[in-house]
Structures are given as structure tokens and as C-alpha cells.
Symmetry: C2
Subunit: 655 residues, 2 copies
């Protein structure tokens, strides 16, 4: 444990980074990911300062330590990786090192005209003696003897030879083991850190509606029918399958096809209108099967490397049991009736929103936490949260902390498509991953700016982007009636620009029929069973499979923030490189953003950053298409035809 | 007092600014100076959020409030000025406003096809009734009646007329006086603010050695002899006269002329080698007179608008009483003898440094605090602190807080010429003003970059630059054997780029003889009495007088951070404008940086920022040289001959 002295600080330790809002929220990393800590560290006068990072896991007493190094301008750094998930605190301790200060002072004296060094030799003897006493007090008797022997040598030698005596790696290390830290300062500020599972930042999601698993418009599929779909997702390389809500769907004011306010007989309703006489958020829609069926599917999926993510949507249909049992949790009109959702002048009569600040807020919050715990106990480890930005941030901060106290590896994906500050704050408050504006970033400049904002500024410390080209709510204009090349380009961008990506099913079949003039699907599956041939000709499943395989085989593509854009002549060519923290894997990604035309460009590679040298040949092997090129120098030519090959994923190999 | 509810926060309040190191140190302003507070403020959903700044002076219980305004992207701001010096805390309270939310919702409903508004009218009635009840509970019976009357009108009117009823300034203000703040959130983070005297950021310093006040090399002047020099400084427009240490000077190892280690009979020694048998830091050098003489001079100076600043130099000569009475406060050799100061291989045998972390540190620190209090009691209000960066930052933080607890208006100038982080941290820790790198910034680019760093980044909140063209320790190369034009240019830069500036005497006489090859004065006054004709032909006293007069007459030049550089074609022409917080005073400063040649340039004025419009003529009146020009448009021509007129100070006047 670092000494906490009852004296004023001797060393200034400040401007610690990375901190999220000054340490109000934890900084995030996943297991094994690099954390670079920096701080300003300095002291008055000319003492030689040493600094160490200190850290411990929450609940542990002992501190671990690691040397920090001086970057210049009084800025110091050290890098760490944590392999166990959980919460940590990280701080800094620093001190003026008496031995190094003495040695440095001695060396400077040798540059002057001093001839008698007896006082300085004696000071050295005292300093070394103290170190030997500390070593003897520790469990390293050999160190004490070694220091005593050094002292004897010091007392017998010429002053000019003193620096050489100590400037050996062994002797410096020996004395570094027994520093005088009686006046060390430990910075008051600590970095709260949360280390999460690798899947928190590296995941590939596939969303489908279980009721349409078989692709039949006249037959409601069940959980038992979902296994082939899950196997298909696994074959494409996805590791998360996300289901829209699986709870009983309300009958009152049920929406018809294409969001019609009139519901025809046989219409299945929106899964987000949760709750009926069959139950609420703890129940499953009977048409999907039983709870046992769901638990069975969860196990079968996990057996195939797939986690099933549930949708946590805090809407209640008018038929939800809460409405009967807890009318006090809802907004009320002056006449006492419960309010349905509105965004005037739009009305959503099939949904009753909850009042998170009602008088009985505590009971409501606890019930909602217990709902999540209920599903965690069933084995669900991932939740996609619907519209979290319409509920209080403090609610999520509390709820996620409560769940993580039970199981810190439960993942929450924030589906907040709203203003930037709210999206950021939900991530700070605990959401593991977040949806983004990627869906609407199209040009090279837009994509570069957005990814730079996500990975190079403060968001890097707490926001983990999950890039989705489409969702059941969003069919962006650029995918409407688009060619397979357009779908491939968006898939490649999502799967390589971020380490987490996902698609809503139908994307792989290049479905692109919109409601006219809207960024929404025609005949949306949200309101009806959907007929589909899951192996429809012209699908891009093979391309997606290759993308996910490349991601799974290459640590560079699994890293979240290790991304650097590469200049290109042609604005339709987006190029960047990604690397693993240890630098052993480097992938150059080149994407033609134009789905209609071949584009060519020179790329200007930053050879240094790629670990390469000018004039030395190196190999770039396309891991998608199994082609290899020999390059040298920084300028290199690429040519991509979207109809055949819209993207290069080039593994860099020194020869 | 803002309501502190025992419920979770309903509004997110974050990223408060300006904070110094997240609130660890206070943000600084001077009395009357503008403070712009910003924060991210938002809430889930569609409620109409209102926010107010809250503040109170340290020790007060009641909070004051001011409305904040939305800037966009969930960022809010408000501006404040404080006229009383002291410490304040500033925070934010925000809430979803039920009346405005209801009104906004009502207006959106009117855009749809809703026809029956009876429920919404009834909700409005309830909302207004609650407001009327709050008003009745307050001391504003008329407000309650007015709200009740509004309610009656509301109940009788057409829905379409409702917005017009409330969207009058009177009715909006009426309801804004009685908001429902039962669910308001007050941000946890507060801004600690210290408001200091205007002199803390606006001052003109003149440094001279009292022993050479009469300018005689063979006669030691006394405090009584200093009055003419002080009157001359006052006539030149200075308001602070700073004396090097006035304490008894040590005899042991006294330095001779030009820092010689051998001292000739009659050599007066360095005032920074403090302490002799005549006393230490609480005594005055007998050759200067008595304590009564000093106190007399202090009073006479103040009578003439001049504060005398003392030098607080924590050096002891070997003859200092502390050496005898408190050997435990000094560094010791292994043989027990006291160490003199060294910066190996350089030795300073005439000075013993104090060990601020000695075992008896507490007694030492308290004694040093008491020394400052001693002089404060004598009437000294300003201290220039010698080499604070060689003492612990925590010592200064403690000492300045202790002094400010007695008198918050005492000013400390930090003479730290060292690395940036240490200089910044001393300012954060409490120093009122700081020396800077200005002395070595020469080109336009260097000056622009440096002033921008000082006034536009985090330093603006805590660091108040005092610009000195020279000091007794520094005769920069550009002033060596230089022409009066060079001195005028440096004076003009210092006096206008910062709101605090100072010169070491001799500057006004254009003294420029260096130790060869060094940035030091030949025959430095630090070690000898100095012969001078204080009205030597060729002096620039009139120019300095005009500069200080312009500063005293124009609030724009008294503002610290209100500075914006103006693009010019010619790199030798530096142009910028300054303005008063209220915008009523605007000065364009144009300086020819080349002391040898006339330079001409176009300036490209930011007319908007100057409160001007293109095509409309305006007047710029040179307040130094009493010339007036008529300008229009943004591009304007200037021509400056350094031999006659190296600078324009142009007061902008709309016609």
C-alpha cells in the first residue's frame, strides 16, 4: 500500500487522464485492452522525481504498482492491461528519490572544478545505508548485502568513477527496489475504471423477429422454430442474436399492418406494445411458445456460440397487468384516466408510458430492476434497451449498477437515437454499447469525422459504438432499392470502422422497399408476419460471412479505438488502418464508397505507424479475397470495382 | 435556497465551466469582471427545461439566482459580475417547467386534427391553480390574483386563442415567478470562485532599488530619499512601486560588484542575501533607515496613489538569525554543518536555503507566514515572491490562504521563470499575478501564440500575466545597446497586450549595457550602488506616461482577456483590439515590431466584433498621439515609423 503521509504533499500530481467528467463516471476498458494513464507530475527545485501507477481491484486492500515514464514537459505516462472484469481504482504515487538525486548532483559536480568530494561521498554512504536498512527490513537479505557491498566500493574509489559504479542496469534496479518513500505523495484523484468482457466492445449482432423465423406470412413461428435462423446467423459469423420484445402483445388499440390504427383480424401487433391478459414483462407471448421453450432456445444458441439479446422496452399496452395493479405508476389525466403516449400531434393509443418520477417511483424502479434480474436468472446476458433517452438518466445509472452488482458482465445496448449529449451521458451512466449516427453518415468526410469523434476524443473512454446499417425502424435512403454492392459497402464500413456492428435481418437479402418518401420499411415486420426466402438469390450472406470471419481471425479488427485514416486522392475511396494493441496484427481497410462505379486512388501510407520503412518491400494480403500484393514506399495504388470487390482488407506483413 | 430533493436527479447537469482542475482550485475574476458560466443541461423526453445559476458568497446562507439561456446542443449559459471581493460558490438548478411544458404541448396539439381540448384546458387550469397557490403562499398576493384571473379567461376561451393569451411578456414573467420546482435538480458540482481587487489584474509596476534612489554611486540612499523617485513613478502613471528586499544584508560571503565572490570594502552586497546581526525578514537594513521611515514612506506613497510592493525572498545569508536560532530549518551536511545553495557546479555560499520538509516544517511554515503577516500589519498589501518554484507548491497554497483569511486583498506576484506546468500550478494555488515568458517573445507569431495561450485557454481562469520587458536579472538581447524605439516598442507591447505590466528602473532611460554575451546587466545594481541621471536625455518617460495615461483612461486596456488579434499583411505589424466587458470602449492597438524601419500594412478588421457595419464610416482616434482617422470597410491602411510613432492606440467611435 502506498504510504499516506500526514504531511503536506511534496510532489504535485495533477491533470490525471483518462477521466470521464473528472472521475464522476468510470473510464471503461475491456479485458486485455490497453489503458494509457497520464498525469502532470513535478516538484520544486532540482530533485529527481520518480512516479508509479498504483491500482487495486474494488474490494481488494493491496495496491499493485508500475513505473511511470517521463514524456516531457512534466507529463508522465504508463500503460496497463487488466484481464479480470470488474471495477478498479487507479492512482499515482511519486517522490523525490534521494539516491538518484544524490547521483545526479554528484555527476554535475564532476563537471566543475570541485576537487574534494569527501562530503558528497559521505552523503552517498548515508543514502545507501538507509536503502540497505530498508532492504534488510524487507524480505530481501541479498539486496541489503549487495547495497552494503556497493557502499564499501563507493568509500574506496575515485570520485570520477562513481557514476560508472551506479549506472549499471543491475545496480540501478537494485536501488530502485528500496527507495525512500517516506515523503512520497499519493495523488488525491483516482481513476475509477470498469473492465468489461471483450464482447462489450467486440460483437456482431443479428436481429430477427422470432415470429417470422420461418419466413412465412401466414404462420406464426415459435421459439422452437428459431433454431435454423440462429444457426444461419452463427454460420454468417454473428455472435449475438437480438430479439424484439418476446412478451405478450396487447390487444387494446393494437396497430394493424403498416402502423395502421385499425387492426384487422389476425394482425399480430407490434411486439413493443407489451402486456396482455397473458402477462407483462416477465411473460412470453403464448404464440411464441412457453418460457421453457425460450430457455431451451437460449441454451441451444449458446451451444452454437450465440448469445440471445432481449429487448428491454419500458412501454405498457393498455392491457398490461401494471395498468390494473399499479395505476399509480402511470401519467394521469385530470379525470383520473391513464394517459397514452403522445408526441403531439401524434398519438400512440396502444402504449401507456410510465411516470418515473411518480410518488411511488421507488416501487416502480425496483420492479423494473427485478424484471431485468428475472431474465438474467433465466440466462439472458445481453439487453438492447429501447428508447432509454425517454427515461431518466439516473434511473439507468441506478438500474445498471444494481444488475452489475449481481453480474458485472451483463451487457446493455442503448438504443438512443437522439441528441449527442444525451447519447453520451447514457453511455457514461453505464450502457455498455450504444447505437450511433453511423446509419446516416455516407461520405468519406462524414465517416472520418464521426469515427474520429468517437475514437479520438473523450467519447473513446466511455462510449462503445455499435454500427448498424439498418434497423426495423430505419431503412436509410441510400439502401432503398439499392444494389447488393450498396449493402456490401455499408456492411464493410460497419464491420471494420467499429469493432461492434449489427444488421436487422433482411439486410443480407438486400431488402430495400421503403414506405414512399420515408426512411422506413414498407410492410414493416413490426406489424405483421413477414414472408422471406432466407437464401434468396442475390443475397450477400457469403460476403458477410467473410467479413465476420476476418473480424474473428484478426485482432486488429477487434480493437475499438486503434484506427487511423489514410489519405487517398479519390474522395470515393475511404482508407484506414487498424492494429492490435500489441502491434502484431495490422490491417489496412480500403472501401469504395460508390456502389455504382469502379474507383481508383493512390493511398499515402504512414509507414512509421505501420511499423514499416521506406524502400523496404512489404506484403499486403487481402484476407477477404485471398489476393496478395507486394508494396514498397508509402504511395500505393488501389482499384476497387463495387460489383465484384468493393473492399480490401489488407493484412500487412513485413518480408 | 434551491430545493434539495430527496429523490433522484430529474435533470442532467454536467460539464460545468469554467472550472480549474475540476474545481480543485478556484476560478478567478476581479471585481466587476464578467464571468460566463456554461453547462450541459438536459432531460429525457420532451419537457420544457428551465435553468438558473445560483450563487452565494462564502459564509452566506441565501442563494441568489439568475436565468440561464440555451445556446444549442443542450449547452446553457449565463453571465455574472461580482463587485465585492471574496470567495463565492456558483452552481446550477434546473427543472422541467410544468406550465411551459403544458403550453408547448398545447401549441403542438393545435397543429393536428384534435378538436376537443377540454382535457388539456383542465390540465392547464390545474397547473395554473398550483402556481396561484404558490404565489399566495409567497408575498405576492397580486400575482396570485393575476394568475387566477388568467385561469378564468382560459376556461372561457377558444383553444386556438390559448397561445396568444400566455405569450405576452407580462404573463410569461408572471408565471416564471412561480414555477413548480418540487422536482428541481441542483448540480452537485459547484464553481469555487474568488473575486479579487481590480488591481489584481490591472496594475503598472515600477521597480527600483531604494538604496540607489538618488542615483549616486558613492552614497547609499534611504527610505526618506525615495519620495522623489516614487513621485516620478506616479507622474509616469505607475501605481505599484516594487522594492527588492529591504532587510539587513548578510556580511559572510557577501558578493562583490558584478557578482564577484570577492567583496571589496564598501560593497553593499545583494539585497537577496537576507539577514545579519541587524536582524532578518522582520527587520530593515539600517543603511535604508528605520522601520518608522519605511512606514512613513508607505503612507506617503499611498497618498500619491502608489502601493509599495515588497520582495518576499526566502533566502537566508549565513548571518541570518534563523541560522543561529533554528539550524533545524536548514539542509545539513553529514558533519552537521549547514548547506549553502548550489546548482552544481555553481555555488552560492552567501545563501542558505530552507528545508521546507524538515522535521520541524510546521514551525518553519508558521514563522514564514508570520513574517508576511508582520508586513501586512505594517501596511504592505503587495508582495513579489522571489523564486516560488523552488519551494513546495503546497507551502504557497497554505501560506496565501492563511494571509487571505486575514486580508483577502493582499496581492502576491509569482516570480517563477521556470517550466510551464509549475508556473501554472503556482497561479492555481493562489498567486494573484505571475511573471511570464513575454520577455523573450519577439516576433508577431510568438506574441500572438503566447497571448492566445494566456487568454483563450484554461490559463485565462487562474493565471494573470504581468508583462515585464526587463528585470534586474534579465536584459534581453533585443534591448542590449538598443535604440529608444526598441524600448518604446517593448513598453507598448507589455502595456497593451496585458493589463498588468512593469519595468525595472533604467528601462525608461534606455539602459542597455550587458555583461558580454549574457542577458544580464553590466555593473548590475544587484551588487552595487548605481549612478543615474533620472532625466537623462533620450529617455522615454513621456512615452511611458502617455501609455499609462491611455491605460488609466480606457477600460478596454484594463481588461485582461478581452483581446483579439487582427490580421495584417506585414508580419512586422502586430495588431489587435481590446474592449471593455460592457462593449462601450474599444481600442485597436497597432505596433511596429521593427525598431529600425517604417512599416506599412493593411489591417483586416473584424467589423462585427468591433460593433461596426461595412460601408458605414467610423472614426479611430489615436489616444497616444491625438490624431484622428476616418475609416470605413474592414480593410484599412496603417504606416508606423518607429523613430517617431511606433504604435497606434486607436479608440473606435461610431459616427
Amino acid at each position: 500500500m502506498p504510504p499516506l503521509v500526514n504531511r503536506p504533499a511534496t510532489v504535485v500530481i495533477s491533470e490525471l487522464s483518462p477521466l470521464v467528467e473528472g472521475g464522476k463516471y468510470p473510464t471503461k476498458r475491456v479485458a486485455g485492452e490497453n489503458l494509457r494513464v497520464e498525469a502532470d507530475i513535478f516538484k520544486e527545485g532540482h530533485d529527481q522525481v520518480l512516479a508509479r501507477l498504483i491500482w487495486r481491484k474494488s474490494g481488494q486492500k493491496e495496491w499493485q504498482e508500475k513505473e511511470m515514464n517521463h514524456l516531457g514537459n512534466d507529463r508522465w505516462f504508463a500503460e496497463l492491461q487488466f484481464h479480470e472484469t470488474g471495477r478498479y481504482e487507479i492512482g499515482i504515487t511519486a517522490w523525490a528519490d534521494d539516491f538518484l538525486t544524490w547521483l545526479h548532483d554528484f555527476e554535475r559536480r564532476l563537471t566543475g572544478d570541485q576537487t574534494d568530494f569527501s562530503t558528497e561521498i559521505e552523503e552517498g554512504r548515508v543514502t545507501l545505508n538507509n536503502a540497505a536498512n530498508r532492504a534488510a527490513g524487507g524480505r530481501a537479505g541479498n539486496d541489503a548485502e549487495a547495497i552494503e557491498s556497493l557502499t564499501t566500493t563507493l568509500m574506496q574509489m575515485e570520485a570520477s568513477a562513481v557514476p560508472a559504479l551506479f549506472h549499471t542496469p543491475d545496480n540501478l534496479a537494485l536501488l530502485a527496489r528500496w527507495p525512500n518513500r517516506s515523503l512520497a505523495t499519493t495523488g488525491e484523484q483516482m481513476i475509477p475504471l470498469v473492465v468489461e468482457t471483450k464482447r462489450s466492445s467486440f460483437s456482431a449482432w443479428y436481429e430477427f423477429f422470432p415470429r417470422s423465423a420461418e419466413g412465412l406470412s401466414n404462420h406464426h413461428s415459435t421459439f422452437r422454430d428459431c433454431l435454423p435462423r440462429i444457426e444461419d446467423a452463427a454460420a454468417m459469423g454473428f455472435d449475438v442474436v437480438y430479439f424484439p420484445p418476446i412478451h405478450p402483445i396487447g390487444v387494446a388499440h393494437r396497430k394493424g399492418k403498416n402502423n395502421s390504427v385499425t387492426c384487422e383480424p389476425g394482425d399480430v401487433g407490434s411486439p413493443w406494445a407489451i402486456g396482455s391478459s397473458e402477462g407483462g414483462h416477465r411473460s412470453v407471448e403464448p404464440a411464441l411458445g412457453t418460457m421453457d421453450d425460450f430457455v431451451w432456445l437460449l441454451g441451444e444458441a449458446r451451444h452454437r456460440g450465440i448469445e440471445i439479446a432481449l429487448d428491454f422496452a419500458l412501454n405498457c399496452s393498455p392491457d398490461h397487468p401494471y395498468v390494473r395493479d399499479h395505476p399509480e405508476w402511470f401519467y394521469r389525466r385530470p379525470d383520473g384516466s391513464i394517459k397514452y403516449a403522445e408526441n403531439p400531434p401524434k398519438k400512440y393509443q396502444d402504449i401507456y408510458p410510465l411516470d418515473f418520477h411518480c410518488d411511488e417511483w421507488k416501487e416502480l424502479w425496483e420492479e423494473l430492476r427485478d424484471v431485468v434480474l428475472f431474465w438474467v436468472e433465466k440466462g439472458v446476458r445481453i439487453f438492447r434497451v429501447d428508447n432509454p433517452h425517454t427515461k431518466p438518466v439516473t434511473f439507468w445509472e441506478w438500474l445498471i449498477a444494481e444488475i452489475h452488482a449481481v453480474d458485472p458482465e451483463v451487457i446493455f445496448l442503448s438504443e438512443a437515437f437522439t441528441r449527442p449529449k444525451m447519447m453520451q451521458t447514457l453511455a457514461k451512466a453505464g450502457f455498455t454499447q450504444s447505437y450511433t449516427y453511423f446509419t446516416w453518415r455516407e461520405t468519406g468526410a462524414e465517416l472520418r469525422d464521426y469515427v474520429t469523434e468517437l475514437t479520438k476524443g473523450h467519447m473513446r473512454e466511455y462510449y462503445r459504438a455499435n454500427f448498424w446499417p439498418n434497423t426495423p425502424d430505419i431503412l436509410p435512403f441510400h439502401l432503398q432499392h439499392a444494389t447488393p454492392a450498396a449493402f456490401k459497402i455499408r456492411a464493410a464500413l460497419a464491420a471494420t470502422l467499429s469493432s461492434s456492428w449489427g444488421i436487422y435481418s433482411g439486410f443480407e437479402l438486400c431488402e430495400g422497399a421503403p414506405l414512399p418518401g420515408r426512411e422506413e420499411y414498407l410492410d414493416s415486420e413490426k406489424y405483421q408476419l413477414k414472408a422471406r426466402d432466407w437464401n434468396k438469390p442475390g443475397n450477400i450472406k457469403m460476403f458477410i460471412t467473410r467479413l465476420n470471419r476476418a473480424r474473428n481471425e484478426h485482432p486488429a479488427l477487434q480493437s475499438y479505438a486503434n484506427i487511423q485514416f489514410i489519405p487517398a486522392d479519390n474522395d470515393q475511396i475511404l482508407a484506414f488502418h487498424k492494429w492490435s494493441d500489441d502491434g502484431t496484427d495490422r490491417i489496412i481497410v480500403v472501401i469504395n464508397l460508390d456502389p455504382h462505379k469502379r474507383h481508383e486512388s493512390n493511398l499515402y501510407l504512414p509507414l512509421d505507424e505501420l511499423g514499416l520503412s521506406p524502400g523496404i518491400e512489404f506484403e499486403v494480403a487481402d484476407v477477404l479475397f485471398e489476393e496478395t500484393y507486394l508494396w514498397r514506399e508509402s504511395t500505393n495504388f488501389v482499384s476497387l470495382d463495387p460489383r465484384t470487390k468493393p473492399v480490401h482488407l489488407l493484412k500487412v506483413r513485413k518480408l
